[in-house]
């Protein structure tokens, strides 16, 4: 049994009786479907979405509201965003898990490096203030707000084989897709191949390390938890919303993930995150000099 959100499908029959035997009839049939609203979908234009965070909707112009999408459980999306963009992820019902692969859009050979992220910060548990570091000694994104603090830098995402064993299927076309299968699709849409997929982090379904290195599933902080990432470089972000690979529950439980993105300003050398530690000061220094030299 699965518990993904089945709300991505349009109603089977929209309000039309047009025959689809001719191009004209088929066109009318297709066009009659426009405007359908389901729970999990992108909203375009983004500014017309109903549920922007109040602090953002009250202060930004509509033209600064960039992306509004709610990703179904067992589904994925990709974001292509400029430097300074803030992306908010919200675990609407408490069982979202956002598996993230992040690339520098100006040079996709530079990508998230989970090992450097935890090693350089001397800390494996992500929380507000943490940097997501690339393999080039630069900050891809900064966690600027986090009401969950239940995240995972260890277990990565799920694979087809493991999902087949656990749920009977792991393919993208099935009901219990693996995170890796979805990230491969997301990567392909940006000209990237399975070779390019680095280890990922995941938000909202945390783990903790117990004595002797054992990995404990901490799970969700509850419905409504959100995380804001401020991107310090232009980025391609692959987002798979699938269960944690170490979620101990027998069912594939994956609920909607809301994404909102708006225009913001990248950190400066004086930003709180950049002066927090010597490692951060050097990381933001590397990032800001690189962005300036490259004209980003």
């Amino acid at each position: 049994m699965t518990a993904t959100t089945a709300s991505t499908a349009s109603p089977a029959s929209t309000a039309t009786t047009a025959s689809t035997a001719s191009p004209e009839g088929a066109r009318a049939h297709a066009r009659a479907q426009g405007g359908t609203v389901v729970e999990t979908m992108p909203t375009v234009p983004a500014a017309t979405a109903a549920d922007w965070p109040e602090d953002i909707a009250d202060t930004l112009a509509d033209s600064d509201l960039l992306i509004a999408e709610t990703v179904a459980g067992g589904n994925y999306t990709t974001l292509a965003i400029q430097r300074g963009t803030v992306v908010e992820f919200t675990d609407l019902e408490g069982d979202a898990c956002a598996h993230l692969a992040i690339f520098n859009a100006a040079d996709t050979s530079e990508r998230l490096n989970v090992a450097d992220t935890v090693k350089i910060q001397w800390q494996a548990y992500l929380a507000a203030g943490a940097m997501l570091l690339s393999d080039r000694g630069r900050v891809l994104a900064t966690i600027v707000a986090d009401s969950s603090a239940s995240h995972d830098t260890f277990a990565g995402t799920s694979t087809r084989g493991v999902n087949e064993a656990r749920y009977g299927d792991g393919s993208p076309q099935g009901g219990t897709p693996s995170g890796r299968d979805l990230l491969i699709l997301g990567a392909a849409k940006h000209g990237l191949s399975p070779r390019d997929l680095p280890p990922t982090i995941s938000l909202f379904q945390g783990v903790r390390v117990a004595d002797a290195g054992g990995l404990d599933f901490l799970g969700s902080a509850g419905a409504g938890a959100s995380v804001r990432l401020r991107f310090e470089l232009p980025a391609i972000v692959l987002v798979a919303n699938v269960p944690s690979p170490v979620d101990p529950r027998d069912d594939y439980i994956s609920t909607p993930l809301r994404i909102r993105a708006w225009r913001g300003e990248a950190a400066t050398l004086g930003s709180a995150e950049a002066v927090a530690t010597p490692e951060a000061t050097r990381a933001f220094g590397n990032t800001i000099d690189y962005a300036r030299a490259k004209g980003l």
Partner: protein
Amino acid sequence: MTTDLPVHLAGREVVLDEVVARRSPWSAQIAAGDELTIVDLEGNQAVDFLLYDSADTTVRYSAPDTIAAQRNVYLTEGSVLRANTGDALMTLVHDEVGRHDTIGGACSKESNSLRYGHHTVHQHACVENFLAEGANWGLGKRDLVSNINFYMNVPVEADGALGIVDGLSAPGLSLTLRADRDVLVLVSNCPQINNPCNGFNPTPVRMIVTRAAR
């Protein structure tokens, strides 16, 4: 340096027996069923280690899949080194140290700039070794992922604090990996001198490939 085989390899046929110089890269194809033994000749020498399916190098070692499958962040005897597909690539069948790292990744010129300062950028680093050796096999930067650090000690504390601390190894301690399929092994004998992973003194290691005697 002794050329005697570690005692646990007694009776096995030696396919290859090489010393990797300090600070240097190394690679080899290991056939399914063969075993690779790494000997920490002088003690506390981090051996940065990547692993690929010889038949399809897009299938490569995955630290998260390995950790998720064994529900533990440390590698020890019995640990199965898994690919990004979840499949077994090698198994750690003999370990005289007790615990190895797969969280800390490889040192690089770039990460050294963050950890120690920009004065270390022109020091040699493991990523340089991986890139140089990988190029011989058609592998490039996009093929580098979070690696294993044999003989390196990275404890993770209850509050998530972690760090590369003094090693647990000693001169002559060895470990043995069995290839569960044909694999390509890529090694950087770590040149780091700014943390205790090599006891602040990079030293050689020995690589011995053996198979069951016919």
